[in-house]
Symmetry: C2
Protein backbone atom coordinates (compact mmCIF):
# COMPACT_ATOMS: atom_id res chain seq x y z
CA UNK A 1 0.00 0.00 0.00
CA UNK A 2 3.03 2.27 0.01
CA UNK A 3 2.85 3.02 -3.70
CA UNK A 4 3.89 6.54 -4.69
CA UNK A 5 1.40 8.70 -6.51
CA UNK A 6 1.19 12.21 -7.81
CA UNK A 7 -0.39 14.90 -5.71
CA UNK A 8 -0.42 18.64 -6.21
CA UNK A 9 0.55 21.07 -3.47
CA UNK A 10 -2.92 22.49 -3.87
CA UNK A 11 -4.42 19.09 -3.10
CA UNK A 12 -2.27 18.78 0.00
CA UNK A 13 -3.34 22.22 1.14
CA UNK A 14 -6.98 21.24 0.67
CA UNK A 15 -6.39 18.00 2.55
CA UNK A 16 -4.77 19.85 5.44
CA UNK A 17 -7.56 22.42 5.38
CA UNK A 18 -10.14 19.67 5.59
CA UNK A 19 -8.52 18.43 8.78
CA UNK A 20 -8.16 21.87 10.30
CA UNK A 21 -11.29 23.70 9.25
CA UNK A 22 -14.24 23.89 11.62
CA UNK A 23 -17.37 22.26 10.25
CA UNK A 24 -19.05 25.65 9.80
CA UNK A 25 -16.30 27.33 7.77
CA UNK A 26 -19.07 28.58 5.47
CA UNK A 27 -21.21 29.34 8.50
CA UNK A 28 -24.68 30.72 8.21
CA UNK A 29 -25.53 33.86 10.15
CA UNK A 30 -25.43 32.75 13.81
CA UNK A 31 -28.06 35.41 14.59
CA UNK A 32 -30.40 34.62 11.69
CA UNK A 33 -33.55 35.47 13.66
CA UNK A 34 -32.28 39.00 14.26
CA UNK A 35 -32.98 41.71 11.72
CA UNK A 36 -30.08 43.98 10.89
CA UNK A 37 -30.15 46.96 13.21
CA UNK A 38 -28.41 48.50 16.22
CA UNK A 39 -29.25 45.64 18.63
CA UNK A 40 -27.81 42.90 16.44
CA UNK A 41 -24.80 45.07 15.57
CA UNK A 42 -24.12 45.76 19.25
CA UNK A 43 -24.08 42.05 20.09
CA UNK A 44 -21.74 41.21 17.22
CA UNK A 45 -19.46 44.16 17.94
CA UNK A 46 -19.24 43.23 21.60
CA UNK A 47 -18.30 39.63 20.83
CA UNK A 48 -15.72 40.67 18.26
CA UNK A 49 -14.24 43.29 20.60
CA UNK A 50 -13.87 40.88 23.51
CA UNK A 51 -12.56 37.87 21.60
CA UNK A 52 -9.97 39.37 19.22
CA UNK A 53 -6.54 38.88 20.79
CA UNK A 54 -4.41 41.98 20.64
CA UNK A 55 -7.32 44.41 20.99
CA UNK A 56 -7.31 46.37 24.25
CA UNK A 57 -10.91 45.22 24.73
CA UNK A 58 -9.89 41.53 24.62
CA UNK A 59 -11.19 39.46 27.55
CA UNK A 60 -9.55 36.14 28.54
CA UNK A 61 -11.88 33.20 28.01
CA UNK A 62 -12.35 32.38 31.71
CA UNK A 63 -13.69 35.91 32.32
CA UNK A 64 -16.29 35.71 29.53
CA UNK A 65 -19.28 35.30 31.81
CA UNK A 66 -22.74 36.10 30.42
CA UNK A 67 -25.88 36.08 32.60
CA UNK A 68 -29.47 35.82 31.44
CA UNK A 69 -32.71 36.43 33.23
CA UNK A 70 -35.19 33.71 32.25
CA UNK A 71 -38.86 34.87 32.43
CA UNK A 72 -39.48 37.41 29.67
CA UNK A 73 -35.85 37.31 28.52
CA UNK A 74 -35.33 33.72 27.36
CA UNK A 75 -38.94 32.59 27.27
CA UNK A 76 -42.36 34.23 27.61
CA UNK A 77 -43.85 35.24 30.96
CA UNK A 78 -47.42 36.34 30.16
CA UNK A 79 -50.19 36.17 31.22
CA UNK A 80 -48.51 34.87 34.41
CA UNK A 81 -45.00 33.54 35.14
CA UNK A 82 -45.09 29.94 33.96
CA UNK A 83 -43.81 28.72 37.31
CA UNK A 84 -46.88 30.34 38.90
CA UNK A 85 -49.05 28.30 36.52
CA UNK A 86 -47.34 25.19 37.82
CA UNK A 87 -47.79 26.35 41.40
CA UNK A 88 -51.50 26.98 40.92
CA UNK A 89 -51.93 23.39 39.82
CA UNK A 90 -49.78 22.09 42.68
CA UNK A 91 -51.58 24.22 45.27
CA UNK A 92 -55.00 23.17 44.05
CA UNK A 93 -53.92 19.57 44.54
CA UNK A 94 -52.64 20.32 48.04
CA UNK A 95 -55.44 22.67 49.12
CA UNK A 96 -57.70 20.02 50.71
CA UNK A 97 -54.92 19.35 53.24
CA UNK A 98 -54.47 23.04 54.02
CA UNK A 99 -57.78 24.60 55.04
CA UNK A 100 -55.78 27.49 56.57
CA UNK A 101 -54.96 28.70 53.04
CA UNK A 102 -58.46 29.92 52.31
CA UNK A 103 -57.56 33.27 53.92
CA UNK A 104 -54.00 33.39 52.56
CA UNK A 105 -53.63 36.35 50.14
CA UNK A 106 -51.05 34.62 47.96
CA UNK A 107 -53.19 31.50 47.61
CA UNK A 108 -56.27 33.54 46.73
CA UNK A 109 -54.38 35.61 44.16
CA UNK A 110 -52.88 32.52 42.57
CA UNK A 111 -56.12 30.63 42.22
CA UNK A 112 -57.85 33.76 40.92
CA UNK A 113 -55.00 34.29 38.39
CA UNK A 114 -54.71 37.82 39.75
CA UNK A 115 -51.41 39.20 38.38
CA UNK A 116 -51.76 42.66 39.97
CA UNK A 117 -52.09 41.17 43.44
CA UNK A 118 -49.28 38.68 42.81
CA UNK A 119 -46.99 41.32 41.41
CA UNK A 120 -47.59 43.53 44.42
CA UNK A 121 -46.54 40.81 46.86
CA UNK A 122 -43.49 39.62 44.91
CA UNK A 123 -42.37 36.02 44.51
CA UNK A 124 -41.64 35.20 48.15
CA UNK A 125 -45.16 34.54 49.58
CA UNK A 126 -45.96 32.32 46.62
CA UNK A 127 -42.72 30.37 46.92
CA UNK A 128 -43.43 30.00 50.64
CA UNK A 129 -46.88 28.56 50.01
CA UNK A 130 -45.46 25.98 47.67
CA UNK A 131 -42.65 25.20 50.09
CA UNK A 132 -45.27 24.39 52.71
CA UNK A 133 -47.29 22.36 50.22
CA UNK A 134 -44.27 20.28 49.26
CA UNK A 135 -42.57 20.07 52.63
CA UNK A 136 -41.29 16.57 53.29
CA UNK A 137 -41.32 15.69 49.58
CA UNK A 138 -38.05 14.28 48.28
CA UNK A 139 -36.28 16.41 45.71
CA UNK A 140 -36.58 13.52 43.26
CA UNK A 141 -40.37 13.39 43.65
CA UNK A 142 -40.53 17.17 43.22
CA UNK A 143 -38.41 16.95 40.09
CA UNK A 144 -40.79 14.35 38.69
CA UNK A 145 -43.83 16.52 39.47
CA UNK A 146 -42.27 19.37 37.50
CA UNK A 147 -41.33 17.18 34.55
CA UNK A 148 -44.80 15.64 34.43
CA UNK A 149 -46.42 19.06 34.53
CA UNK A 150 -44.17 20.44 31.78
CA UNK A 151 -45.18 17.54 29.57
CA UNK A 152 -48.88 17.97 30.21
CA UNK A 153 -49.40 21.72 30.51
CA UNK A 154 -50.16 24.00 27.57
CA UNK A 155 -49.92 27.78 27.34
CA UNK A 156 -53.43 29.34 27.38
CA UNK A 157 -52.82 31.57 24.34
CA UNK A 158 -50.33 29.65 22.24
CA UNK A 159 -51.57 26.13 23.10
CA UNK A 160 -48.05 24.78 23.19
CA UNK A 161 -45.86 23.20 25.89
CA UNK A 162 -44.15 26.00 27.77
CA UNK A 163 -40.54 25.17 26.80
CA UNK A 164 -41.58 25.69 23.16
CA UNK A 165 -42.14 29.35 24.04
CA UNK A 166 -38.40 29.94 24.36
CA UNK A 167 -37.28 32.84 22.18
CA UNK A 168 -35.39 31.65 19.14
CA UNK A 169 -33.31 34.87 18.83
CA UNK A 170 -32.09 34.47 22.39
CA UNK A 171 -31.25 30.80 21.83
CA UNK A 172 -29.09 32.07 18.97
CA UNK A 173 -27.38 34.62 21.22
CA UNK A 174 -26.64 31.89 23.78
CA UNK A 175 -25.13 29.61 21.14
CA UNK A 176 -23.22 32.47 19.52
CA UNK A 177 -21.67 33.52 22.84
CA UNK A 178 -20.70 29.95 23.70
CA UNK A 179 -19.17 29.44 20.27
CA UNK A 180 -17.00 32.43 21.17
CA UNK A 181 -15.80 31.04 24.47
CA UNK A 182 -18.43 32.55 26.78
CA UNK A 183 -19.92 30.64 29.68
CA UNK A 184 -23.67 31.26 29.86
CA UNK A 185 -25.70 31.31 33.09
CA UNK A 186 -29.36 31.76 33.94
CA UNK A 187 -29.95 34.15 36.86
CA UNK A 188 -33.68 34.05 37.57
CA UNK A 189 -36.17 34.69 40.34
CA UNK A 190 -37.68 31.32 39.50
CA UNK A 191 -36.65 28.28 41.52
CA UNK A 192 -33.67 26.21 40.45
CA UNK A 193 -35.89 23.11 40.41
CA UNK A 194 -38.34 24.54 37.92
CA UNK A 195 -35.69 25.53 35.35
CA UNK A 196 -33.15 22.74 35.47
CA UNK A 197 -35.22 19.96 33.87
CA UNK A 198 -35.45 21.72 30.50
CA UNK A 199 -32.76 24.45 30.48
CA UNK A 200 -30.07 22.16 29.10
CA UNK A 201 -32.17 20.94 26.18
CA UNK A 202 -33.81 24.30 25.45
CA UNK A 203 -30.94 26.71 26.08
CA UNK A 204 -27.83 24.54 26.22
CA UNK A 205 -27.38 25.68 29.83
CA UNK A 206 -26.48 22.81 32.19
CA UNK A 207 -28.07 22.57 35.69
CA UNK A 208 -24.87 23.77 37.38
CA UNK A 209 -25.21 27.07 35.49
CA UNK A 210 -28.81 27.69 36.52
CA UNK A 211 -28.95 30.19 39.40
CA UNK A 212 -32.34 30.81 40.96
CA UNK A 213 -34.36 31.03 44.14
CA UNK A 214 -33.52 28.33 46.69
CA UNK A 215 -35.70 26.40 49.11
CA UNK A 216 -34.25 24.76 52.17
CA UNK A 217 -33.36 21.12 51.63
CA UNK A 218 -32.37 18.61 54.30
CA UNK A 219 -30.18 15.52 53.98
CA UNK A 220 -31.21 12.35 55.80
CA UNK A 221 -30.59 8.62 55.67
CA UNK A 222 -33.73 6.56 55.18
CA UNK A 223 -33.49 2.77 55.14
CA UNK A 224 -29.76 3.07 54.53
CA UNK A 225 -30.25 5.35 51.53
CA UNK A 226 -29.33 9.07 51.43
CA UNK A 227 -32.35 11.25 50.66
CA UNK A 228 -32.81 15.00 50.21
CA UNK A 229 -36.10 16.38 51.55
CA UNK A 230 -37.71 19.72 50.81
CA UNK A 231 -38.32 21.94 53.84
CA UNK A 232 -41.00 24.64 54.27
CA UNK A 233 -38.60 27.57 54.05
CA UNK A 234 -37.31 29.82 51.27
CA UNK A 235 -33.63 30.45 51.86
CA UNK A 236 -32.80 32.77 49.00
CA UNK A 237 -34.81 34.89 46.57
CA UNK A 238 -32.79 35.49 43.43
CA UNK A 239 -34.61 38.59 42.25
CA UNK A 240 -33.84 42.30 42.10
CA UNK A 241 -30.96 43.03 44.52
CA UNK A 242 -30.74 39.26 45.07
CA UNK A 243 -29.41 38.73 41.53
CA UNK A 244 -25.94 40.23 42.07
CA UNK A 245 -25.81 38.29 45.34
CA UNK A 246 -26.69 35.05 43.51
CA UNK A 247 -24.00 35.83 40.95
CA UNK A 248 -21.47 36.47 43.70
CA UNK A 249 -22.32 33.23 45.50
CA UNK A 250 -22.58 30.96 42.51
CA UNK A 251 -20.17 32.40 39.97
CA UNK A 252 -17.74 34.52 41.96
CA UNK A 253 -16.86 36.73 39.01
CA UNK A 254 -18.56 39.82 37.69
CA UNK A 255 -20.26 39.10 34.35
CA UNK A 256 -19.25 41.09 31.28
CA UNK A 257 -22.65 40.66 29.60
CA UNK A 258 -26.13 40.72 31.14
CA UNK A 259 -29.53 40.21 29.51
CA UNK A 260 -32.82 41.10 31.16
CA UNK A 261 -36.28 42.47 30.47
CA UNK A 262 -37.68 43.98 33.66
CA UNK A 263 -36.99 46.04 36.75
CA UNK A 264 -36.16 42.79 38.53
CA UNK A 265 -33.02 42.68 36.39
CA UNK A 266 -31.92 46.26 37.09
CA UNK A 267 -29.39 45.45 39.81
CA UNK A 268 -27.88 42.62 37.77
CA UNK A 269 -27.45 45.03 34.85
CA UNK A 270 -25.98 47.71 37.13
CA UNK A 271 -23.59 45.22 38.68
CA UNK A 272 -22.45 44.04 35.26
CA UNK A 273 -22.10 47.60 33.96
CA UNK A 274 -19.91 48.64 36.90
CA UNK A 275 -16.97 46.44 35.87
CA UNK A 276 -13.97 47.56 33.82
CA UNK A 277 -13.54 47.02 30.09
CA UNK A 278 -16.03 46.07 27.40
CA UNK A 279 -19.56 45.42 28.67
CA UNK A 280 -22.87 44.46 27.11
CA UNK A 281 -26.12 45.30 28.90
CA UNK A 282 -29.25 44.34 26.97
CA UNK A 283 -32.96 44.62 27.70
CA UNK A 284 -35.65 42.77 25.77
CA UNK A 285 -38.55 45.18 25.30
CA UNK A 286 -41.86 43.43 24.65
CA UNK A 287 -43.37 45.48 21.83
CA UNK A 288 -45.12 42.87 19.73
CA UNK A 289 -48.76 42.47 20.74
CA UNK A 290 -49.47 40.45 17.64
CA UNK A 291 -46.79 37.79 17.72
CA UNK A 292 -46.29 37.81 21.51
CA UNK A 293 -47.29 40.55 24.01
CA UNK A 294 -46.69 44.29 24.33
CA UNK A 295 -46.05 45.57 27.85
CA UNK A 296 -43.63 47.60 29.92
CA UNK A 297 -44.14 50.36 32.53
CA UNK A 298 -47.69 49.45 33.54
CA UNK A 299 -47.42 45.68 33.42
CA UNK A 300 -47.98 43.67 36.59
CA UNK A 301 -45.81 40.84 35.29
CA UNK A 302 -42.36 41.80 34.05
CA UNK A 303 -42.76 45.50 34.74
CA UNK A 304 -40.13 47.49 32.83
CA UNK A 305 -39.94 51.05 34.10
CA UNK A 306 -36.85 52.11 36.05
CA UNK A 307 -34.62 49.74 34.06
CA UNK A 308 -35.92 51.26 30.80
CA UNK A 309 -35.07 54.76 32.01
CA UNK A 310 -31.64 53.63 33.07
CA UNK A 311 -31.06 51.81 29.78
CA UNK A 312 -31.92 54.96 27.88
CA UNK A 313 -29.76 57.12 30.13
CA UNK A 314 -26.75 54.81 30.03
CA UNK A 315 -26.94 53.64 26.44
CA UNK A 316 -27.71 50.01 27.22
CA UNK A 317 -29.15 48.05 24.29
CA UNK A 318 -32.96 47.94 24.19
CA UNK A 319 -34.26 45.25 21.85
CA UNK A 320 -37.49 46.19 20.08
CA UNK A 321 -39.01 42.75 19.76
CA UNK A 322 -41.32 43.81 16.95
CA UNK A 323 -38.65 45.22 14.65
CA UNK A 324 -35.48 43.45 15.83
CA UNK A 325 -36.74 39.86 15.76
CA UNK A 326 -37.92 38.25 12.52
CA UNK A 327 -38.96 35.15 14.46
CA UNK A 328 -40.13 34.88 18.06
CA UNK A 329 -40.50 31.36 19.41
CA UNK A 330 -38.31 28.34 18.89
CA UNK A 331 -41.47 26.49 17.88
CA UNK A 332 -42.62 29.03 15.26
CA UNK B 1 3.03 26.98 -6.79
CA UNK B 2 0.76 24.28 -8.10
CA UNK B 3 3.56 22.00 -9.29
CA UNK B 4 2.91 18.31 -8.95
CA UNK B 5 5.30 16.24 -6.86
CA UNK B 6 5.60 12.69 -5.70
CA UNK B 7 4.31 11.72 -2.30
CA UNK B 8 3.85 8.29 -0.80
CA UNK B 9 0.60 7.21 0.82
CA UNK B 10 2.67 6.65 3.93
CA UNK B 11 3.78 10.28 3.90
CA UNK B 12 0.20 11.44 3.54
CA UNK B 13 -0.83 9.26 6.43
CA UNK B 14 1.91 10.78 8.55
CA UNK B 15 0.89 14.27 7.48
CA UNK B 16 -2.71 13.60 8.40
CA UNK B 17 -1.63 12.06 11.68
CA UNK B 18 0.38 15.16 12.50
CA UNK B 19 -2.75 17.28 12.10
CA UNK B 20 -4.93 14.93 14.06
CA UNK B 21 -2.71 13.69 16.89
CA UNK B 22 -3.00 15.33 20.29
CA UNK B 23 0.19 17.00 21.46
CA UNK B 24 0.72 14.35 24.11
CA UNK B 25 0.50 11.32 21.82
CA UNK B 26 3.53 9.98 23.66
CA UNK B 27 2.03 11.13 26.96
CA UNK B 28 3.77 10.68 30.25
CA UNK B 29 1.91 8.97 33.06
CA UNK B 30 -0.82 11.45 34.06
CA UNK B 31 -0.64 10.07 37.61
CA UNK B 32 3.15 10.09 37.94
CA UNK B 33 3.08 10.93 41.67
CA UNK B 34 1.07 7.78 42.38
CA UNK B 35 2.85 4.49 43.00
CA UNK B 36 1.38 1.47 41.28
CA UNK B 37 -1.17 -0.13 43.55
CA UNK B 38 -4.89 -0.62 44.06
CA UNK B 39 -5.70 3.08 44.54
CA UNK B 40 -4.06 4.21 41.31
CA UNK B 41 -5.51 1.24 39.44
CA UNK B 42 -9.01 2.01 40.73
CA UNK B 43 -8.81 5.62 39.50
CA UNK B 44 -7.58 4.60 36.05
CA UNK B 45 -10.10 1.76 35.76
CA UNK B 46 -12.95 4.06 36.73
CA UNK B 47 -11.98 6.67 34.14
CA UNK B 48 -11.57 4.06 31.43
CA UNK B 49 -14.89 2.41 32.31
CA UNK B 50 -16.85 5.66 32.24
CA UNK B 51 -15.31 7.17 29.11
CA UNK B 52 -15.16 4.24 26.66
CA UNK B 53 -18.17 4.53 24.36
CA UNK B 54 -19.96 1.25 23.89
CA UNK B 55 -19.24 -0.05 27.39
CA UNK B 56 -22.34 -0.41 29.58
CA UNK B 57 -20.49 1.68 32.20
CA UNK B 58 -20.07 4.62 29.78
CA UNK B 59 -21.21 7.97 31.18
CA UNK B 60 -22.11 10.90 28.88
CA UNK B 61 -19.73 13.80 29.31
CA UNK B 62 -22.24 16.17 30.90
CA UNK B 63 -22.84 13.67 33.70
CA UNK B 64 -19.15 13.28 34.53
CA UNK B 65 -19.25 15.31 37.74
CA UNK B 66 -16.44 14.85 40.27
CA UNK B 67 -16.49 16.53 43.70
CA UNK B 68 -13.53 17.12 46.00
CA UNK B 69 -13.35 18.10 49.61
CA UNK B 70 -10.56 20.66 50.06
CA UNK B 71 -8.99 20.59 53.56
CA UNK B 72 -7.04 17.35 53.98
CA UNK B 73 -8.08 16.09 50.53
CA UNK B 74 -6.57 18.63 48.11
CA UNK B 75 -4.24 20.43 50.51
CA UNK B 76 -3.04 19.95 54.09
CA UNK B 77 -5.16 20.83 57.13
CA UNK B 78 -2.85 20.38 60.12
CA UNK B 79 -2.14 21.63 62.71
CA UNK B 80 -5.30 23.72 62.17
CA UNK B 81 -7.50 24.35 59.09
CA UNK B 82 -5.64 27.04 57.15
CA UNK B 83 -8.74 29.20 57.02
CA UNK B 84 -8.74 29.18 60.83
CA UNK B 85 -5.15 30.48 60.73
CA UNK B 86 -6.40 33.35 58.60
CA UNK B 87 -9.30 33.94 60.95
CA UNK B 88 -7.05 34.07 63.99
CA UNK B 89 -5.08 36.86 62.37
CA UNK B 90 -8.24 38.68 61.30
CA UNK B 91 -9.84 38.34 64.72
CA UNK B 92 -6.73 39.55 66.51
CA UNK B 93 -6.87 42.66 64.36
CA UNK B 94 -10.56 43.17 65.12
CA UNK B 95 -10.44 42.22 68.82
CA UNK B 96 -9.88 45.74 70.19
CA UNK B 97 -13.27 46.73 68.76
CA UNK B 98 -15.01 43.70 70.28
CA UNK B 99 -14.38 43.55 74.02
CA UNK B 100 -17.37 41.21 74.27
CA UNK B 101 -15.30 38.45 72.62
CA UNK B 102 -13.09 37.90 75.63
CA UNK B 103 -15.65 35.45 77.00
CA UNK B 104 -16.53 33.93 73.62
CA UNK B 105 -15.50 30.23 73.54
CA UNK B 106 -14.76 30.23 69.81
CA UNK B 107 -12.57 33.31 70.08
CA UNK B 108 -10.65 31.89 73.03
CA UNK B 109 -10.11 28.56 71.32
CA UNK B 110 -8.93 30.22 68.12
CA UNK B 111 -6.43 32.52 69.79
CA UNK B 112 -5.16 29.64 71.93
CA UNK B 113 -4.82 27.44 68.80
CA UNK B 114 -6.92 24.85 70.61
CA UNK B 115 -7.95 22.30 67.97
CA UNK B 116 -9.85 20.00 70.37
CA UNK B 117 -12.10 22.84 71.48
CA UNK B 118 -12.54 24.10 67.91
CA UNK B 119 -13.30 20.65 66.58
CA UNK B 120 -15.91 20.12 69.26
CA UNK B 121 -17.81 23.27 68.32
CA UNK B 122 -17.58 22.76 64.53
CA UNK B 123 -17.05 25.51 61.95
CA UNK B 124 -20.17 27.57 62.58
CA UNK B 125 -19.25 29.59 65.72
CA UNK B 126 -15.90 30.48 64.17
CA UNK B 127 -17.45 31.54 60.89
CA UNK B 128 -19.97 33.60 62.87
CA UNK B 129 -17.25 35.42 64.77
CA UNK B 130 -15.53 36.34 61.56
CA UNK B 131 -18.82 37.37 60.00
CA UNK B 132 -19.31 39.81 62.87
CA UNK B 133 -15.71 41.03 62.58
CA UNK B 134 -16.11 41.72 58.87
CA UNK B 135 -19.68 42.92 58.84
CA UNK B 136 -20.10 45.94 56.63
CA UNK B 137 -16.90 45.19 54.73
CA UNK B 138 -17.30 45.10 50.96
CA UNK B 139 -16.69 41.73 49.33
CA UNK B 140 -13.87 43.31 47.33
CA UNK B 141 -12.09 44.49 50.50
CA UNK B 142 -12.54 41.04 52.03
CA UNK B 143 -11.14 39.42 48.92
CA UNK B 144 -8.09 41.66 49.14
CA UNK B 145 -7.57 40.82 52.83
CA UNK B 146 -7.53 37.13 51.94
CA UNK B 147 -5.15 37.58 49.02
CA UNK B 148 -2.79 39.70 51.13
CA UNK B 149 -2.79 37.13 53.90
CA UNK B 150 -2.14 34.23 51.52
CA UNK B 151 0.88 36.08 50.19
CA UNK B 152 2.27 36.84 53.62
CA UNK B 153 1.41 33.81 55.73
CA UNK B 154 3.66 30.75 56.05
CA UNK B 155 2.82 27.29 57.35
CA UNK B 156 4.32 26.77 60.85
CA UNK B 157 5.92 23.40 60.02
CA UNK B 158 6.69 23.63 56.31
CA UNK B 159 7.53 27.35 56.21
CA UNK B 160 5.87 27.74 52.82
CA UNK B 161 2.87 29.74 51.56
CA UNK B 162 -0.25 27.67 52.15
CA UNK B 163 -1.23 27.12 48.49
CA UNK B 164 2.15 25.39 48.00
CA UNK B 165 0.86 22.69 50.36
CA UNK B 166 -1.58 21.43 47.75
CA UNK B 167 -1.12 17.71 47.13
CA UNK B 168 0.59 17.01 43.83
CA UNK B 169 -1.07 13.56 43.39
CA UNK B 170 -4.51 15.13 43.74
CA UNK B 171 -3.63 17.90 41.27
CA UNK B 172 -2.81 15.08 38.88
CA UNK B 173 -6.17 13.39 39.51
CA UNK B 174 -7.98 16.68 38.84
CA UNK B 175 -6.13 17.21 35.56
CA UNK B 176 -6.54 13.57 34.54
CA UNK B 177 -10.31 13.68 35.13
CA UNK B 178 -10.69 16.95 33.22
CA UNK B 179 -8.63 15.57 30.32
CA UNK B 180 -11.25 12.82 30.21
CA UNK B 181 -14.23 15.14 30.07
CA UNK B 182 -15.01 15.40 33.77
CA UNK B 183 -16.09 18.66 35.40
CA UNK B 184 -14.33 19.07 38.75
CA UNK B 185 -15.83 20.87 41.77
CA UNK B 186 -14.63 21.70 45.26
CA UNK B 187 -17.24 20.98 47.95
CA UNK B 188 -15.75 22.24 51.21
CA UNK B 189 -16.77 23.44 54.66
CA UNK B 190 -14.47 26.40 54.10
CA UNK B 191 -15.93 29.67 52.85
CA UNK B 192 -16.20 30.32 49.14
CA UNK B 193 -14.23 33.54 49.60
CA UNK B 194 -11.22 31.83 51.12
CA UNK B 195 -10.85 29.27 48.34
CA UNK B 196 -11.66 31.15 45.17
CA UNK B 197 -8.57 33.41 44.98
CA UNK B 198 -6.16 30.50 44.50
CA UNK B 199 -8.26 27.47 43.47
CA UNK B 200 -8.06 28.24 39.76
CA UNK B 201 -4.28 28.59 39.70
CA UNK B 202 -3.61 25.73 42.13
CA UNK B 203 -6.25 23.20 41.10
CA UNK B 204 -7.53 24.42 37.74
CA UNK B 205 -10.96 24.85 39.37
CA UNK B 206 -12.68 28.13 38.45
CA UNK B 207 -14.55 30.17 41.10
CA UNK B 208 -17.94 29.07 39.73
CA UNK B 209 -17.03 25.47 40.59
CA UNK B 210 -16.03 26.22 44.18
CA UNK B 211 -18.87 25.27 46.57
CA UNK B 212 -18.43 26.19 50.21
CA UNK B 213 -19.94 27.82 53.27
CA UNK B 214 -21.80 31.04 52.53
CA UNK B 215 -22.10 34.27 54.49
CA UNK B 216 -24.97 36.64 53.93
CA UNK B 217 -24.16 39.40 51.45
CA UNK B 218 -26.25 42.48 50.73
CA UNK B 219 -26.45 44.54 47.53
CA UNK B 220 -26.60 48.31 47.79
CA UNK B 221 -25.96 51.38 45.66
CA UNK B 222 -23.35 53.73 47.12
CA UNK B 223 -22.55 56.99 45.32
CA UNK B 224 -24.16 55.58 42.19
CA UNK B 225 -22.02 52.43 42.28
CA UNK B 226 -23.33 48.92 43.07
CA UNK B 227 -21.58 47.40 46.09
CA UNK B 228 -21.86 44.02 47.85
CA UNK B 229 -21.47 44.18 51.63
CA UNK B 230 -20.79 41.30 54.02
CA UNK B 231 -23.42 40.78 56.72
CA UNK B 232 -22.95 39.24 60.18
CA UNK B 233 -24.76 36.00 59.41
CA UNK B 234 -23.77 32.56 58.13
CA UNK B 235 -26.40 31.37 55.69
CA UNK B 236 -25.11 27.95 54.78
CA UNK B 237 -22.57 25.55 56.26
CA UNK B 238 -21.28 23.24 53.56
CA UNK B 239 -20.08 20.44 55.83
CA UNK B 240 -21.26 16.94 56.71
CA UNK B 241 -24.94 16.64 55.73
CA UNK B 242 -24.61 20.12 54.18
CA UNK B 243 -22.38 18.79 51.42
CA UNK B 244 -25.04 16.87 49.47
CA UNK B 245 -27.28 19.91 49.93
CA UNK B 246 -24.57 22.20 48.52
CA UNK B 247 -24.14 19.81 45.60
CA UNK B 248 -27.88 19.80 44.98
CA UNK B 249 -28.10 23.60 45.07
CA UNK B 250 -25.02 24.39 43.06
CA UNK B 251 -24.64 21.48 40.65
CA UNK B 252 -28.05 19.88 40.42
CA UNK B 253 -26.71 16.50 39.41
CA UNK B 254 -25.44 13.63 41.52
CA UNK B 255 -21.66 13.28 41.19
CA UNK B 256 -20.22 10.00 39.92
CA UNK B 257 -16.93 10.49 41.77
CA UNK B 258 -16.27 11.91 45.24
CA UNK B 259 -12.99 12.48 47.08
CA UNK B 260 -12.74 13.18 50.79
CA UNK B 261 -10.63 12.50 53.84
CA UNK B 262 -12.77 12.85 56.96
CA UNK B 263 -16.12 12.18 58.57
CA UNK B 264 -17.26 15.58 57.28
CA UNK B 265 -17.21 14.02 53.81
CA UNK B 266 -19.22 10.93 54.71
CA UNK B 267 -22.60 12.18 53.48
CA UNK B 268 -21.10 13.43 50.22
CA UNK B 269 -19.56 10.01 49.67
CA UNK B 270 -22.84 8.26 50.57
CA UNK B 271 -24.80 10.53 48.24
CA UNK B 272 -22.38 9.85 45.40
CA UNK B 273 -22.38 6.10 46.06
CA UNK B 274 -26.18 5.92 45.97
CA UNK B 275 -26.44 6.71 42.25
CA UNK B 276 -26.68 4.16 39.46
CA UNK B 277 -23.80 2.95 37.33
CA UNK B 278 -20.04 3.24 37.78
CA UNK B 279 -18.99 5.19 40.89
CA UNK B 280 -15.70 6.16 42.50
CA UNK B 281 -15.56 6.96 46.22
CA UNK B 282 -12.08 7.72 47.51
CA UNK B 283 -10.72 8.67 50.93
CA UNK B 284 -7.26 10.12 51.49
CA UNK B 285 -5.87 8.49 54.65
CA UNK B 286 -3.12 10.54 56.29
CA UNK B 287 -0.53 7.91 57.18
CA UNK B 288 2.74 9.74 56.62
CA UNK B 289 4.00 11.37 59.82
CA UNK B 290 7.36 12.00 58.23
CA UNK B 291 6.47 13.74 54.99
CA UNK B 292 3.13 15.18 56.17
CA UNK B 293 1.02 14.08 59.18
CA UNK B 294 -0.44 10.80 60.42
CA UNK B 295 -3.93 11.00 61.91
CA UNK B 296 -7.40 9.50 61.69
CA UNK B 297 -9.86 8.30 64.34
CA UNK B 298 -8.54 10.36 67.25
CA UNK B 299 -7.68 13.57 65.41
CA UNK B 300 -9.45 16.80 66.33
CA UNK B 301 -8.92 18.21 62.86
CA UNK B 302 -10.02 16.03 59.95
CA UNK B 303 -11.25 13.17 62.13
CA UNK B 304 -11.61 10.00 60.04
CA UNK B 305 -13.59 7.37 61.93
CA UNK B 306 -17.10 6.54 60.70
CA UNK B 307 -16.15 7.23 57.09
CA UNK B 308 -13.18 4.85 57.39
CA UNK B 309 -15.45 2.09 58.69
CA UNK B 310 -17.91 2.71 55.89
CA UNK B 311 -15.14 2.79 53.29
CA UNK B 312 -13.89 -0.58 54.49
CA UNK B 313 -17.38 -2.04 54.61
CA UNK B 314 -18.39 -0.76 51.18
CA UNK B 315 -15.13 -1.20 49.33
CA UNK B 316 -14.45 2.49 48.77
CA UNK B 317 -10.87 3.32 47.86
CA UNK B 318 -8.69 4.29 50.83
CA UNK B 319 -5.45 5.97 49.77
CA UNK B 320 -2.50 5.17 52.01
CA UNK B 321 -0.59 8.41 51.65
CA UNK B 322 2.67 6.85 52.78
CA UNK B 323 2.73 4.01 50.27
CA UNK B 324 0.49 5.31 47.46
CA UNK B 325 2.09 8.71 46.94
CA UNK B 326 5.72 9.06 45.86
CA UNK B 327 5.46 12.82 46.21
CA UNK B 328 3.26 14.85 48.54
CA UNK B 329 3.22 18.58 47.94
CA UNK B 330 3.16 20.50 44.69
CA UNK B 331 6.15 22.45 46.03
CA UNK B 332 8.30 19.40 46.93
Amino acid sequence: MNRPFVMSLHAITMLAAAFLAPANAQAEDPLASWNDGPAKAAIVNFVEATTAEGLPSFVPQEERIAVFDNDGTLWAEQPLYFQFMFMVDQLKLAAPNHPEWKDNPAFKALVAHDPPALAKMGPKPVLELLAVANSGMTVDAYDKAIRDWLEMARHPKFKRPYPELAYRPMQEVLAYLRANGFKTFIVSGGSIEFMRPWAEKTYGIPPEQVIGSVSQVRFDMKDGQPVLYRMPKIEFVDDGPGKPVGIYRNIGRRPIAAFGNSDGDLQMLQYTAAGDGARLMLIVHHTDAEREYAYDRKSQIGKLDKALDEANAKGWIVVDMKTDWNRIFTSD
